[in-house]
Structures are given as C-alpha cells and as structure tokens.
C-alpha cells in the first residue's frame, strides 16, 4: 500500500527532519505513530498523502512512485487515503452534511443521501446534518472529520492526533470508530502521544507502534 525505502525528508533543503526510513504499510494493518512533539509525526503523514515529497529515498503509494505523480495523480492518491487532520479543516460556509460529502462532490460522484445519513448516524451526528461547522464542539468536529475521511471508502486512513483536544470518553468513542473501520479491512495509522489510547486500542486490535526518534522510524516495544 505505502512503501518507503531509505526515505529522508527535510524542509527547504535544510537538515533532514526524517532520515533513512524504511516501512511497508499493508492493507488492513493498524499502526500508531508516536514520538515527541516536533519529531515529525505530521510530516510523516503528509508524506503519505503526497503533500510533501521525499528529498531522498523512494516511496510508492498503491504501486506508484509518488515523485512521478502528476497533480491529477496526487488528487487520485488522496481519494484513496482518508485523512483526519489535527485541526479538522472544514468549509465553514457549508453545513456539516455537505462538508462530509465534499470528497464525493469534487470527484463528481453521486451523493447517496441515505448512505450519507447512515454515515452521520455512525459518527453520532445525525442531528447535526444542517449545522454549520463552527457550531460543532471539538469532539463533534473530530467525528465529522473522520466521517469525511471515510466517505470515499479509502484503503488507508491517516489520523493526526485525532484525540488531542478530546476528553477520555470522547477519545474512546473515536477510537472505536477507527477500530471498526480497521475491522472492515481499512489500514489505519494514528499519530498520537497518548499512551493510554494506544493501550486501550491494543486490547482490541492487533496494533503496531512506530516511534520517531532521532529522525528515524523505529518499531516500538510491546511493553507500553
């Protein structure tokens, strides 16, 4: 799905933030990505959906070398990768339901209103379909972002600190949704430094923990 070989990345040609990373993300896998603030977790995720390109090494996504992708190719890649951003980015002039349907709208796909209703119910936002994004609470925004990330039925879901601003109950609710998605065959990568969240997940799903330390990607031990 995503293959990295000796991949390095540095901003503006400076010192590499990430160096010599080798990784293979398989379909149906569940990964946590940890590391101190500023270690490069968000950068790693941005590399996965080709918002950034490696400065050296090789990376393929769904069999295609990302450095050779056209802009349309990048758009195509992003339709296969659902991303829950740390700062949940919505279009504030559209109601929640239309924000969720945005990936369908921009890809020209038909919007199945019943399926959209089911999706809203799945993230417990059935009563907020017509609400505007600024009216949502932090937890609601995160769930809405998750719903938007999965509406195109992507093969891979990337979540960047999805529980960063949520209380424990809300974090668990969001985690359950991600675990459900993984059980339906989606690969999931969650960037977090919440060890409790990782522990809770490992009780329910076979999750691997990756750690970024000293610019490199390491497989963390099982004793979390």
């Amino acid at each position: 799905m995503i293959e990295m070989q000796n991949l390095s990345f540095g901003y503006s040609g400076g010192d590499p933030l990430l160096a010599d990373m080798t990784l293979s993300l398989q379909p149906g896998s569940f990964h946590f990505l940890t590391g101190p603030s500023g270690a490069g977790k968000t950068t790693f995720l941005r590399l996965c959906y080709a918002e950034l390109l490696p400065t050296s090494g090789r990376m393929t996504a769904f069999g295609q070398d990302v450095t050779g992708l056209t802009r349309d190719g990048i758009a195509g890649l992003r339709r296969r990768v659902g991303v829950v951003h740390q700062d949940t980015q919505f279009l504030d002039h559209l109601p929640v339901a239309e924000n969720l349907a945005l990936p369908l709208m921009v890809s020209g796909a038909t919007i199945d209103m019943a399926a959209l209703g089911d999706l809203l119910a799945w993230v417990q936002l059935g009563n907020h379909a017509r609400a505007m994004p600024p009216e949502l609470s932090g937890g609601e925004r995160q769930r809405a972002a998750l719903a938007r990330a999965v509406i195109m039925s992507p093969d891979l879901i990337l979540a960047d600190e999805p529980t960063g601003n949520l209380d424990w109950d809300m974090s668990m609710r969001l985690l359950q949704l991600l675990i459900e998605l993984n059980r339906s065959g989606k690969a999931v990568v969650i960037a977090t430094h919440d060890l409790n969240l990782i522990r809770a997940a490992k009780q329910q799903v076979q999750a691997r923990v990756l750690r970024i330390a000293g610019k490199r990607l390491q497989l963390a031990g099982a004793d979390l």
């Binding site: 802009r71 890649l77 980015q89 919505f90 709208m105 921009v106």
Partner: protein, 309 residues
C-alpha cells in the same frame, strides 16, 4: 520539492468544465463573496456601457471619414461670376480650360434645378434662379492622378477672370484626417476598456482566490483536481462578467438609441450611433467580457494553484 505541472488546466479542459452542467453543485464549494461579486458585475456593466459608446464612436467616425473622403473626390467646383453678357463666354473658356487640363476626368455645368436646390436653404423653394445674378457652377471630377490646382487657378485667371476654383479638398483633408484619428481613438478606447475590464476581473478573481486559500487547500487535500477547483472559480467570474456586460450593453444601446436623430441634431452628432447591421456589433461585448473573465480567472487560478500542492 518537485512541483507537478498544471497540464490539466488547459483551455479545452477548462472550457469543457465550464460548459458542463453542475448537478453535484461543485460550484458551492466556493463561498459566496457578496460585495466582491456585486463589484465585479458592476465593473463589467460599466465597462460594457463605455464600450458601447466607444464602438459607436469608432463606427460613426469611420462612416464620417468615408463620407468625407468620397465627397472629397467630387466636390471641386469652379464658380464663374461675370456680367451677364460675358457669362456664357467665360463659362465656355473655363470648360475649354478644364477639358485640356491633365488630371481632370470630367467637368459639367450644374443645371439650374441643382443650383436651385443649393440655394433653397437660404431662399426657400421655387427660387427664380434665372432672374437672379447667380454665378454659374461647374462641377469638376478629379481623375485618379489628380491635377495641379495652382496651375489651373493661374490659367483660369488669364482666360476667364470671373472664374474661381473652389478647391474643397484643402479644408476637407484635415477633417478626414481628424475623423480617421477619432476612429483610431475609438478602437484604442475599446482595447483600453477590454484591458481595464480584464485587469479588474483579474484583481477580483485574485482577491477571491486569495481569500479562499484555505478552501482551495482543503479541496486539494480531499482529492479535488485542479480543473475542478479552477472551474468553480472560472464559472463564477465568467458568469458575472457576462451578466454585468450584458446589462451594461443593453443600457448603452438604449442610451445610443435615445440620442437625437439625424434630422434633429445635424452636424457631427448625426452619425454617433449604429446603423443597420451595425446594431449587432455591441452584442459581441458580453461575449468578449465573458472571454476576458474566463481568461483572467484562469490565469489567476493557475497562479494560485501553483502555490498549493
């Protein structure tokens, strides 16, 4: 970082995106811009209104220059003023001189009924021309190669002292030149108006794109193609430019139509307007405005999208 090209944003692809219906409501991804939208429509309308007048001016001055140029070749006259007993003799001398002057294609004595018409504005209808000491008028048609007016004048002075060569070309030439310059000015004004409209729409489009930078980033992140994003903006600005220009054109046409008619105004104003098929020319203004809106927004969108991966 390597940057992928914006090849998908070629004119043909954008035009197809623009002409296709939008059942998914993709255009809604661009937030309504309210005041900016109204300003764009107003600017396009005002420019179109001015363009109608510039076009009318260009066409009118073109007609004027053509008319004056045509008359130029026909309005050389010789006026023979002499005592009644010498009039026929001097007229015959003038005709003989004209016939033998190189560069003169034709010379004919103006019949009494035409002289009567010339005098009608001053003396009213049914002027008894034969009872008045009216000079005899000879209309001279100049040949292609032209004639030496000064030499003819001297010759007439010797052979028919009562004859005066009235060479209208000397005062019409500057008028024709002025009319031609006015036509160029009218066409230049049209170009200037088109360029100004383009600049204003570009500015409005750039402002809208800059204000919606976050929207564009979000759309790219969820997998929107450049063509989808650009079409949403281009469609909006093209429509605004066309709508505003259509309104301005209609108002401009009404204003031109309401100008005093030929008979009432006279003089230069008689020509300021459209004639016959000329009324169809202004219909091109909204089409041109839409094309300008299309091109200007595409250019602005290209620049903006280049900054967003």
């Amino acid at each position: 970082m390597k940057k992928a090209g914006l090849k998908s944003l070629d004119f043909a692809a954008l035009w197809r995106g623009l002409t296709r219906p939008d059942p998914a409501g993709t255009d809604r991804v661009v937030p309504p811009t309210g005041f900016t939208a109204q300003l764009t429509v107003f600017s396009a309308g005002a420019m179109a209104f001015l363009a109608v007048f510039a076009l009318a001016l260009a066409l009118a001055t073109g007609r004027l220059a053509e008319r004056w140029s045509t008359e130029l070749a026909q309005t050389v006259t010789v006026r023979v003023s002499a005592p009644a007993d010498q009039l026929d003799e001097q007229t015959a001398a003038v005709m003989e001189a004209l016939k033998t002057t190189p560069g003169i294609a034709e010379a004919k004595i103006l019949p009494d009924d035409q002289v009567e018409k010339l005098l009608e504005p001053w003396f009213g209808p049914d002027v008894p021309v034969e009872a008045l000491p009216v000079p005899r008028l000879i209309e001279v048609v100049e040949g292609d190669e032209g004639f030496d007016a000064e030499a003819l004048r001297l010759r007439l002075q010797g052979e028919a002292p009562g004859a005066v060569l009235d060479d209208h070309t000397r005062w019409r030439q500057p008028l024709v030149s002025a009319a031609n310059r006015l036509r160029v000015l009218g066409l230049f004004s049209l170009l200037l108006i088109a360029a100004t409209a383009g600049a204003m729409i570009t500015l409005a489009a750039k402002a809208a794109l800059a204000a919606n930078g976050q929207v564009i980033r979000v759309l790219r992140l969820i997998g929107a193609r450049d063509i989808t994003i650009a079409t949403a903006f281009v469609r909006r600005f093209t429509r605004r430019a066309a709508m505003g220009a259509a309104g301005g054109t209609v108002l401009g046409l009404l204003a031109v139509w309401a100008l005093p008619s030929v008979d009432q105004a006279g003089g230069f104003l008689t020509g300021l307007g459209f004639q016959g098929w000329g009324w169809l020319w202004p219909l091109l203004i909204p089409v041109a405005a839409a094309a300008i809106g299309f091109g200007a927004t595409r250019w602005a969108a290209l620049r903006m999208l280049r900054e967003v991966r």
